[in-house]
């Protein structure tokens, strides 16, 4: 049994950069690489793609990521764990095998399935967000349970080079190799709680190493263009020392680690995953070197009896239109344009939003502190039940060219299909995971 392993995180969301993961594999001396690529909404959209084509529904960047990484993963003997399977881990595994054959490489891939619980759903379950039955939100399109470490372990027990999952809790992607290598008991809540702290710190990749942190002259981050992604040296007692490949950009300090530790955390003493109810309140962070932070003190209580299920539903369409005004009285002309649009559209939309980009669009207020900007962009958004209705928003904004205030320019219009997400809880005994192993 090993005394220490190194896990890198080379992607923190589906659209994350490709280069940092390559650098981690080539120069990071990793044992494991994790790519976390699956947000709540991403999987619902992936389910819709799978419905149109049963061989799709995995991460859209899977091919590009695997093609560049695979030769290096095999050469350096780095195992990859990723949730890029999204709505279709089996098709993703097959795609990876196809890529390996094309590159004349020998690879074993283990796919973890069982998170898709759509067929188990009645629709009458209570949505946590609304307190009402799920189907009240809209026509349901997907339901994926957050699987945990117990679902990933059987895949790691095979000799698979790559473990590909659908919906699993992000920290479990990191806890599972720790349990696999160190033989930790899943019932040791303090140990799994510390593992969850490690996973939570790593799961957003660059957000630990100076990404999403910089504020010039206050929180300076060097060489952000070459931002490196993090790794952790984890010891069998759970002690973790975080670092990044030397020569990469970014910084890793207790300040960057604190921001990431609390990111998206509701009650810091009860961070709930399928593995544990983790307690972050006793975590101790310490700088042990340049771009090196040690984390200890994560604890936990027994895992919950239920798993969270992320449920996607069809939420219609959003139509948007934008147009800019600049120079003298730009805010006045933009506001006149906004009031014209309001009058023209209010009878056809129950939910219409008018924003002034450059002033109050992002925070919905400017706290009364700031003078008028030189330029301002009107943005209108309306909720619609059809694409035709959604199109009206952009059409009316564009028509401000010849039917609105003076000097409007740069009109743009957009239509989005909206998949909403609600959550419910499901008894974990109802959910069965399994693994499928494919070889090239």
């Amino acid at each position: 049994m090993k005394q220490q392993i190194r896990i890198g995180c080379g992607a923190g969301f589906s659209g994350d950069r490709l280069e940092p993961s390559l650098i981690l594999v080539q120069q990071g001396q990793l044992d494991y690489l994790v790519l976390e690529c699956l947000a709540e909404r991403t999987i619902a959209l992936a389910q819709k793609r799978k419905r149109q084509n049963s061989m799709l529904g995995y991460d859209p960047l899977l091919e590009r990521r695997i093609e560049s990484l695979l030769p290096h993963l095999l050469e350096k003997k780095v195992r990859l764990i990723t949730n890029m399977g999204a709505a279709n881990p089996l098709a993703a595994a097959q795609k990876i095998v196809d890529i390996a054959r094309r590159l004349n490489l020998s690879v074993t891939v283990a796919a973890v399935t069982g998170d898709d619980v759509f067929s188990l759903l009645l629709g009458t379950e209570t949505a946590l967000e609304t307190g009402k039955p799920l189907t009240n939100s809209g026509p349901l399109v997907s339901a994926n349970a957050y699987l945990g470490t117990d679902a990933i372990l059987p895949a790691l027990a095979t000799n698979a080079d790559i473990v590909i999952t659908g919906r699993v809790a992000d920290p479990s992607l990191f806890v599972s190799p720790l349990v696999h290598e160190f033989g930790w008991s899943l019932d040791d809540s303090d140990q799994i709680g510390q593992g969850t702290v490690i996973g939570h710190l790593l799961e957003c990749a660059g957000q630990l190493t100076g990404g999403y942190f910089a504020d010039p002259d206050r929180k300076d981050v060097p060489d952000m263009a070459h931002l490196g992604h993090p790794f952790a040296d984890v010891y069998s007692d759970g002690t973790a020392v975080f670092g990044k490949v030397s020569g990469t950009g970014g910084i890793l300090t207790v300040a960057t680690a604190k921001e990431q530790l609390l990111y998206e955390v509701m009650d810091p003493s009860r961070y709930i995953t399928p593995d544990v109810i983790a307690d972050f309140t006793q975590v101790h962070l310490e700088e042990t070197g340049h771009n090196q932070v040690k984390a200890t003190g994560g604890r936990g209580q027994t895992r919950p009896d239920t798993l969270k299920v992320s449920v996607g539903y069809e939420a219609g369409f959003i139509g948007e239109g934008e147009i800019s005004y600049a120079g003298s009285n730009a805010p006045g002309r933009a506001q006149l344009a906004g009031s014209i649009i309001q009058e023209r559209l209010q009878d056809r939309f129950t939910d219409l939003r008018i924003d002034y980009i450059g002033s109050t669009s992002v925070h919905r207020t400017n706290f009364g502190h700031y003078p008028d900007p030189y330029e301002i962009r009107l943005r209108v958004a309306g909720r619609a039940s059809t694409t035709q209705q959604a199109a009206l928003v952009g059409e009316e904004v564009e028509a401000l060219y010849t039917n609105g205030p003076a000097g409007g320019g740069g009109a743009r219009k957009y239509i989005h299909e909206v998949v909403g997400i609600v959550s419910t809880l499901m008894d974990r005994e109802k959910i069965t995971s399994s693994i499928t192993v494919l070889r090239s």
């Binding site: 929180k219 009650d267 669009s361 925070h363 909720r383 909403g420 609600v422």
Partner: protein, 103 residues
């Protein structure tokens, strides 16, 4: 003397559904007691009144040290269906840091 939270602390926003989380981390640990005494959940609720419709809970993390604010009904319906531009509320860390406090 009035100071902005921006002068002594940093923050990162996060989202879960329609709930917004905001950390508040002093640059200097010695400012933590001051933040605890002045930046109460009630004061933050008043400051963010145009943004957060629901309750705000504050969690203290003296070990880090840092404060964590959890704001209900703060994202105009939530990440996936909101009509706003910043549907995640990611920029709202800087709304918290706009707050003025007497020091």
């Amino acid at each position: 003397m009035k100071i902005k939270l921006y002068d002594i602390a940093h923050s990162r926003a996060g989202d879960k559904g329609n709930t917004l989380t905001l950390s508040l981390i002093p640059y200097k640990a010695e400012d933590y007691p001051f933040l605890c005494s002045r930046v109460t959940a009630e004061v933050v609720k008043e400051h963010l009144r145009d943004i957060v419709a629901g309750d705000i809970a504050r969690y203290e993390l003296p070990n880090l040290p840092a404060l964590q604010f959890v704001c209900q009904q703060a994202l105009t319906g939530g990440v996936t269906t909101s009509l706003t531009t910043d549907t995640h509320g990611k920029s709202l860390s800087y709304a918290l840091l706009e707050m003025w406090v007497e020091k």
